[in-house]
Symmetry: C2
Subunit: 332 residues, 2 copies
């Protein structure tokens, strides 16, 4: 018995690793001190007075199933990088480096390269170095064709500039910034409603959607770094609207006796969300607890800061307010 017979082709993986190495190098910043191929990646801490590292881990979840159905693998890498960049941005951090984790049963080497192309593109766009990762071929664990993509990001922020929600006070305002689609959350529900219940496919054309249903579902997660980073001094807290929607992602930020009311009449969710809701007969609360409903990031700021924020970020709008109370974040 050879290892290859056991379903693990080390030579094929080596070839992929070389291409991935070149893609990684295309993202390197001056702080990267090592080349690919060592047991770890060396990264110089940027010059700061009192640097704080901000780390986060996430996965694209079952959005990979949409990529598989569409035979399009170069966008999920953008999803996981941008998701991660947004997560640490909520604390004021700029990205430093990123590592990916791909697990699969039988992905073709070319397909893995497509995934890493997306990672590299998004890393370059965010000024983040793709310094490493791991590709695990696990034929017994994953169903054929399925794969998993997770990511780890580390960023840095001056300790004095960490975004700290403890200054939130009644009267503060919630500003929503548009998303590009579902981003990376709610795909289990979306697929169940659209494909299993309603019988649609990724090729279906639906009135009001640009392109096919698959195109709409695969639209990448947006990075808010460029728009939001210059405004950090104006905000008191930032929520990235991921799994848990407008409930959990805002609630986790709120100090004691501070609550938040999001008013859904303040914006109309894009067609893809209304489609899921209509076809699945999904209650409003479930929708706003699962999806970003068209607003992927919420900035919480003093009322006096709202106008400059609205002027700076295209499509942003007031969607709610901070109040006294202990009920967390609710959508009415």
């Amino acid at each position: 018995v050879l290892y290859k017979d056991a379903g693990v082709d080390i030579d094929a993986m080596d070839a992929v690793k070389r291409v991935i190495g070149r893609l990684c190098r295309s993202t390197y910043t001056p702080e990267v001190l090592s080349d690919v191929g060592l047991f770890g990646s060396l990264f110089k801490v940027p010059a700061m007075r009192d640097p704080v590292l901000v780390a986060s881990c996430d996965s694209v979840g079952t959005k990979t199933a949409i990529a598989r159905m569409m035979h399009r693998y170069d966008t999920v890498g953008v999803d996981i990088v941008n998701h991660s960049v947004n997560d640490i941005l909520t604390l004021g951090a700029k990205p430093l480096f990123f590592l990916d984790f791909i697990a699969h049963s039988d992905m073709k080497p070319e397909t893995i390269v497509e995934v890493v192309k997306g990672l590299g593109k998004a890393c370059r766009a965010n000024g983040c170095a793709l310094v490493g990762g791991e590709t695990a071929m696990m034929p017994d664990v994953y169903k054929p064709g399925d794969f998993e993509l997770a990511g780890f990001i580390v960023g840095a922020v001056e300790r004095s500039r960490v975004v700290d929600a403890k200054r939130l006070a009644p009267g503060d305002i919630c500003v929503g910034i548009p998303s590009w689609g579902l981003h990376t959350n709610g795909y289990s529900l979306a697929r169940r409603v659209l494909f299993r219940k309603a019988g649609l496919t990724v090729k279906s054309k639906v009135k009001g959607l640009v392109g096919t249903l698959g195109d709409a579902l695969l639209r990448p997660h947006r990075s808010y770094l460029r728009e939001v980073y210059p405004l950090l001094a104006r905000v008191k807290a930032i929520a990235h609207i991921t799994g848990g929607g407008f409930y959990d992602n805002i609630k986790r930020l709120l100090p004691f006796e501070i609550s938040c009311i999001i008013k859904k009449q303040n914006w109309r969710p894009p067609r893809i969300f209304r489609l899921i809701q209509e076809l699945g007969n999904v209650p409003d609360e479930e929708m706003y607890r699962t999806f970003n409903m068209g607003m992927g990031m919420v900035l919480l700021a003093a009322a006096g800061q709202v106008q400059p924020i609205l002027r700076s970020i295209r499509g942003s709008r007031v969607i709610g307010k901070v109040v006294r109370g202990t009920y967390g974040s609710i959508v009415i």
Copy 2:
């Protein structure tokens, strides 16, 4: 349709998250500046003159299948933490913090907690803070019962103390340090040979193995931090013997025109490796390319440093030498 109907139970996951939060806090070091539950984890860079971060990502691979067969979930966390600690140790780094990624289809909350208990235990033992992670429930991607555990570690080292293999020279010596078993590599091959080909089970008793076959296969990955860290000034390079065995893991370190010869007669592989080889009729080269064969870490050092190293580390022994040549690392 509710999200719960789609197979994702947010409430159950919230309960797990609270327990995981407590386990994480038990590992916190003074550098951890945030509590659990934010979008990212804050970590103060330790005071150093010129700190270099060392990052690595890995997974336990299909060792999770052994855990599932044994109904024992508290060791794979130890595996991934110790694997990661060893990876960055090869560059001279001490661990700072760790994040985990668990993906599964239908794991019970108690089972996830067992996995995180293992992570917490190993993090405490290595002085590493478990600052976060992600648990993804993906019923459509994973087969029932299967799960994946990946980890991401960041450590730090003074720039002047980065272990850099470029000083390796002919005449240097390879010192092997015993492993505790298969560690986290080669499980696809091991399972195929032992279970599918030879018809054994995790409950089988095999002469020469302590406990059952499952016990032997599940023995955790050893952390070499405590033994090796004090000796870093004595070594020129360190190889962590993971997938790729004594070939790829040493070769990746070697400077131009420097090669390495490992002599297998220098030690006798433990019973579990000999069992796999015998039952699977696996060629020697394949064994030494896939498994650690009883030596999980190799220190490469000048001849004059060998005696102090051998005296410091129980069970360590000379297993090979550095020579002039361009053939990489070979086992003879």
